[in-house]
Symmetry: C2
Subunit: 394 residues, 2 copies
């Protein structure tokens, strides 16, 4: 007599959260220093100094009722203008405050965009490996998630498979680059090819196909890698962003939707975004963190430790005989499991106190995700465990 769908979602939980909770319990049993928890994308780098300094300044100087009061549902005008200005300066875009809608993080952003555009019979396409919650958000609207199988060589997009799946029911395509879980950044060529197909299909079907790009890892890239900014390539784009990773604030829930500045019927779509936020029970994004973002937009935590971790872990694991694509961004290694069943492999890894996430829920069975947003010393301590695990399979 309650919703079985919600019960299933809540009792199974996300596999990631499940392992995260196991890690907490295991830490209590044997000490946190003995658990090698590579399960969750919780940044281990502290927020930059500007964050806590600005928080304290706001608290000590702003009027309490202004600081802690409601903002407009779409977010404070000045905050949105500051973000628009920052995007325009960095990416040559033409956003104004009126294209931006503040949210409680990227999960909310994606969920809101899906709700804003979904109609009955709609299909949303995503590319495996994909962030597990896309299925949840799409299905919550009543629409269907269609998954393009992974290209296991490059973890870029398999366009032949995509062309076979896109159809007149396709309402939107959800992408995520730098990618969780593969760490791959979609190249400019990949993006151009994707957008070319979408343009052609929009014409052919006579209706828009939206591109929802989920970009919490935008700033976490290594070397000279460029992450194409999608509204510059495709008009009907929603950019979903979170400050969780760039400012190390995942628990605070602050992010936004940027509605493409050249989107067809953009004003109406923006209104639908506001309506979707309202329908899902959002009132406004947390006000203190909105004002914080206004001051700290453009800054990041010290992200260099992630590169150090990537190099250490990638070199060691490939040395032990593991195979995985070389990640250019985010803080994940997506490693081929050493047996067919990634769940069984992750269970075996637990014997060595290694907490890994099976790739099945990311649409990529046979692989595991290793989150390296942990202390470098944790990786160093964990390497012998990875080595022993590999030896079991020799």
């Amino acid at each position: 007599m309650f919703s079985q769908q919600m019960y299933t979602l809540g009792s199974r939980r996300s596999v990631i959260r499940e392992i995260f909770e196991y890690g907490k319990i295991r830490s209590q049993q044997i000490g946190a220093e003995n658990v090698f928890d590579f399960s969750i994308g919780n940044p281990n780098v502290p927020a930059p100094a500007c964050v806590n300094e600005t928080l304290v300044k706001l608290i000590q100087t702003m009027d309490s009722t202004a600081l802690h009061g409601y903002t407009s549902a779409q977010g404070d005008q000045g905050v949105r203008a500051a973000i628009a200005g920052n995007l325009n300066a960095r990416f040559g875009t033409r956003f104004t405050a009126n294209h931006l809608y503040m949210t409680v993080g990227a999960a909310a952003s994606v969920s809101i965009c899906c709700k804003a555009v979904a109609q009955p019979e709609d299909e949303f396409i995503t590319f495996a490996p994909y962030f597990t919650e896309y299925r949840v958000f799409v299905e919550a609207t009543g629409a269907k998630l269609v998954v393009v199988p992974p290209d296991l060589d490059s973890f870029q997009m398999d366009f032949d498979a995509f062309q076979g799946l896109i159809n007149p029911h396709t309402k939107a395509v959800i992408i995520n680059s730098p990618n969780n879980p593969s760490g791959v950044v979609y190249s400019k060529e990949t993006i151009q090819q994707l957008c070319g197909i979408l343009e052609q299909k929009q014409k052919e079907y006579g209706h828009p196909i939206y591109l929802i790009t989920d970009e919490p890892y935008r700033e976490i890239v290594y070397g000279d890698i460029e992450v194409p900014f999608l509204t510059n390539y495709y008009k009907n784009t929603f950019v979903c962003y979170s400050f969780s990773k760039s400012l190390s604030l995942p628990g605070e829930r602050i992010g936004y939707v940027a509605v493409g500045y050249e989107m067809e019927e953009g004003d109406k779509i923006y209104a639908a975004v506001c309506g979707a936020g309202r329908a899902l029970g959002y009132v406004c994004a947390p006000s203190l963190f909105q004002y914080l973002v206004k001051e700290c937009v453009g800054q990041t935590s010290d992200l260099s430790v992630y590169k150090q971790n990537r190099d250490l872990l990638y070199n060691a694991l490939t040395g032990y005989g593991y195979t995985c694509v070389h990640p250019d961004g985010a803080f994940y290694l997506f490693v081929k499991a050493l047996e067919k069943d990634a769940y069984a492999f992750c269970e075996r890894a637990k014997k060595y106190e290694l907490l890994l996430v099976p790739g099945d829920d990311f649409g990529c069975p046979g692989y595991v995700r290793v989150s390296y947003c942990v202390k470098t010393s944790t990786i160093q301590k964990a390497l012998p465990a990875f080595q022993k695990l590999a030896e079991e399979y020799k």
Copy 2:
């Protein structure tokens, strides 16, 4: 090709928000001190000292990644235990941390509870006048909102009408006391009568009927008024709470769902609440404000100004010839409009820079809501405007 339902929700917005935005613009035009904005329930009393003191302490002493990192999806265990303890001490309840689910405020709480229990063909009943967003949250699940007409004498519940509307499709009843917009507190007798009918109907229909009680105004009551705590009266109760009003933090979005400690299949329902939160795109409630609540639970802002405002406004308005029920709680006066069409009345009020909210969207045409969570001096300055407005109708 996008969701017309979401577009309508977003473009019409809530009437309250619409007037709130008008007030902001009008303030820029003629100065905030000349606009008598009685439209929104934004507390004007500062947060108590413990709030900003605790925020600064947490920021300056807690490890950044712990403070700003993800909590469990249902909220930090210690935070939930602290809230459970506080409720048990005050109301003789038997909550544990495992009955509590932290949310981004009461709107999210109600939205999540609706999503957790709704199935196709379901009906949710509420009593007019009711908070406008209940319709939005219920309809977003695909279920139907059924409204019991107001009892215009007492603004308690019209049980004859209720008995005529409850039926085997009734999944839940949503109530709100102290009530927004009437300010009325449902008496113990009203609650007992309601719960008696629900018990009887549960038996008759052979399935649970949930009671969703939306209680952001619980602490804002005047004199010796008691607000019955619903889980003590009815097992299948969800308590939806927000710290927005009691701690003057409406912009920060922090609240909870408390699942009745004797609810039938309570563990499963709690899982469905977790699943609904996940489906709607919530990840966790803002971590800094979770930890804040742990320290400040049981404290409130100085609420005495609301009583002072109520007395001032109620006495003056009834003196000018307005009629309205005497409110025992919240910070709203629900006044009979001086013409049949409350929209027309509110438009006329704007001539005097009085911003009032028509009662139509609360299910009570012909009435207007006056939010008196404003400075007492604003009320004093506004009284001549109310008087002139009344004189127009004489």
